[in-house]
């Protein structure tokens, strides 16, 4: 356990000094600042106003940016470290492979989750100072969604890093994964539905395998509990899970998926060449 925390600390220190972390923190801090600056808390959408409106927008933007950011920065730094000889040296020290791999994940998880969370906390603090009401239920659930999203895509990133032997290949694979998930949101899924004339339950089932779709639907569910904007799909989702059940699913499933991907990555990592 001591080795795991030492490795996590090492990864945190390395990340804090990397340029990507600075850009990453600025992007999410910048989003919150911009949303306040443009007076989003004063606008109204579907009855949402104040901080709820801001948080809804923030989570939508985060869903667009965080997955690709986490995937690319994770594979770049892990595969890059391997190419540059960092693995050759640090893995010549007596650290167990489990402590090394999972320590890296713990360190990186904190580094990618905390800036996104900190931006949301900053939004809440500003709201409190300005006397704007804070929707704690939305804040709490969005925090859980962000935590699940970070875990999910970090797991994918670590799996890709374990498989790819070069930074270029890892970046290409990460981009491809993200693009596939993105296309499966609508385009490919619509194509499959039209061509195969599949049942709505199957189509919705396929959609909900995609963590990006799960997050999108969960974010919608908070301000549109009947999921009216989704049309008939809403019936399938709500009949299958129920509103509360779906919210729990949206946090649990991507987290487990991330763990499964990381676990597979670890299995491949420990049975292959390390540097």
């Amino acid at each position: 356990m001591k080795q795991l925390w030492l490795t996590a600390k090492l990864d945190i220190v390395e990340s804090l000094r990397a340029r990507w972390f600075l850009i990453y923190s600025l992007v999410f801090g910048g989003i919150v600042a911009m949303l306040f600056l443009f007076g989003l808390t004063e606008s109204r959408v579907l009855g949402f106003i104040g901080l709820s409106r801001l948080l809804v927008t923030y989570i939508q933007l985060t869903m667009a940016i965080l997955p690709i950011f986490v995937l690319i920065t994770t594979v770049r730094s892990v595969a890059g470290d391997r190419e540059a000889g960092v693995f050759e040296y640090l893995l010549s020290l007596p650290v167990s492979l489990a402590a090394w791999f999972w320590g890296k994940i713990v360190g990186r998880y904190l580094v990618i989750f905390l800036p996104v969370f900190a931006a949301m906390v900053a939004a809440v603090l500003i709201a409190l100072v300005r006397g704007i009401e804070v929707p704690w239920n939305i804040f709490g659930y969005y925090t859980a969604l962000l935590a699940a999203m970070a875990a999910c895509f970090l797991g994918f990133g670590m799996l890709i890093s374990a498989v790819a032997r070069s930074t270029d290949m890892a970046q290409g694979a990460a981009f491809l994964v993200w693009l596939t998930l993105l296309l499966f949101l609508d385009l490919i899924l619509l194509g499959v539905m039209i061509q195969e004339k599949i049942r709505p339950e199957v189509a919705v089932g396929i959609a909900l395998v995609n963590p990006l779709q799960v997050f999108r639907t969960a974010a919608l569910a908070l301000f549109d509990p009947q999921l009216i904007v989704l049309g008939p799909s809403a019936y399938v989702i709500l009949d299958t899970f129920g509103a509360a059940g779906y919210m729990a699913f949206a946090v649990t499933y991507p987290t487990l998926l991330g763990f499964a991907a990381a676990g597979l990555g670890y299995w491949l990592f420990r049975r292959g060449d390390l540097p």
């Binding site: 001591k2 080795q3 030492l6 600390k9 090492l10 220190v13 390395e14 000094r17 990397a18 540059a84 000889g85 960092v86 693995f87 050759e88 040296y89 640090l90 893995l91 010549s92 020290l93 007596p94 650290v95 167990s96 492979l97 049975r271 292959g272 060449d273 390390l274 540097p275």
Partner: protein, 285 residues
């Protein structure tokens, strides 16, 4: 102690190691030589448990792959190219000391003996140190613990003569208690450090020879050089070896570490037409 048994390794059907059988005993100082692509780095990575391979590699009967922490706790490694770590030097020393179960002060003291004052660079990123500073620190981290096997890839390449002298002294202190595997693509770089030479070519051992071991790692040579006329370039070169000018750049005196004599003579050979007299006398430790 170290045993390679029919070790073979291929990358995409290219056989890099082809049935290596070797036994290296305690106290042996082995030069692992061979041209680029001969398989030296791959063999070292197999020894460090970093590569999967056919055959077996054991250190005192233990596999560095299956019993990583136990086996690697006994190995000090100095890579040829320093890793581009962004973490501060203090953090790196702390991490290495913690996982190796040694006192960071021991590493800092050793770095000091090699001429690296750690205090001013503790907060500096490792990657921002000069090549020589990185090498000194990596050597200090490899030697600053109770490693019984030292694996070093061109360890003295970036060191100045003074640091090399101290490095040889440090190796001499460990000569009886540690096995050393020193990799280089040129034998003359390491010949004076070793008592056995193993040459690899195309992934096979093509030479395995014992060499005369009558040169002490910590030995010193008193050297005096006379030149026909003062020559700034030669004066600068001798200055880097800490030689003292005894008069108008015509007479020079200094000491050379025993294992460094070949390198020193290599340097002086560039000025052979200028030198009128040269003497080197062993003066012990």
């Amino acid at each position: 102690m170290i045993r390679f048994d029919s070790v073979a390794k291929a990358f995409k059907r290219v056989r890099v190691l082809d049935g290596i059988n070797l036994e290296i005993g305690l106290g042996e100082r082995v030069a692992l030589i061979g041209s680029n692509g001969a398989g030296k780095t791959t063999l070292i990575r197999c020894l460090l448990g970093e590569y999967t391979h056919d055959g077996s590699v054991t250190i005192e009967g233990r596999s560095p792959r299956r019993e990583r922490t136990t086996v690697l706790g006994d190995i000090g490694f100095v890579p040829q190219l320093p890793p581009p770590l962004k973490m501060p030097v203090g953090q790196l020393i702390g991490f290495a000391a913690a996982v190796c179960g040694t006192d960071p002060k021991r590493i800092i003291d050793l770095a000091g003996r090699l001429g690296l004052d750690s205090a001013p660079v503790m907060d500096r990123q490792f990657v921002r140190l000069s090549g020589g500073m990185k090498q000194k620190l990596l050597i200090a981290m490899a030697l600053g613990r109770s490693a019984r096997v030292l694996v070093m890839d061109e360890p003295a390449a970036n060191l100045d003569p003074e640091a090399r002298k101290m490095f040889f002294e440090l190796l001499a202190e460990r000569a009886e208690s540690a096995t050393m595997l020193i990799s280089s693509h040129r034998l003359n770089e390491v010949s004076s450090l070793v008592n056995r030479v193993i040459e690899l070519d195309m992934g096979k051992v093509v030479l395995d020879d014992r060499v005369a071991d009558d040169m002490s790692l910590a030995g010193l040579l008193a050297c005096r050089i006379s030149v026909k006329r003062p020559e700034p370039a030669f004066a600068k070169a001798l200055g880097s070896w800490n030689f003292a000018d005894l008069g108008d750049g015509l007479e020079w005196q200094g000491t050379v570490a025993g294992p460094d004599r070949l390198r020193f003579l290599g340097m002086t050979s560039r000025y052979v037409a200028l030198i009128s007299n040269i003497s080197m006398t062993e003066i012990g430790h």
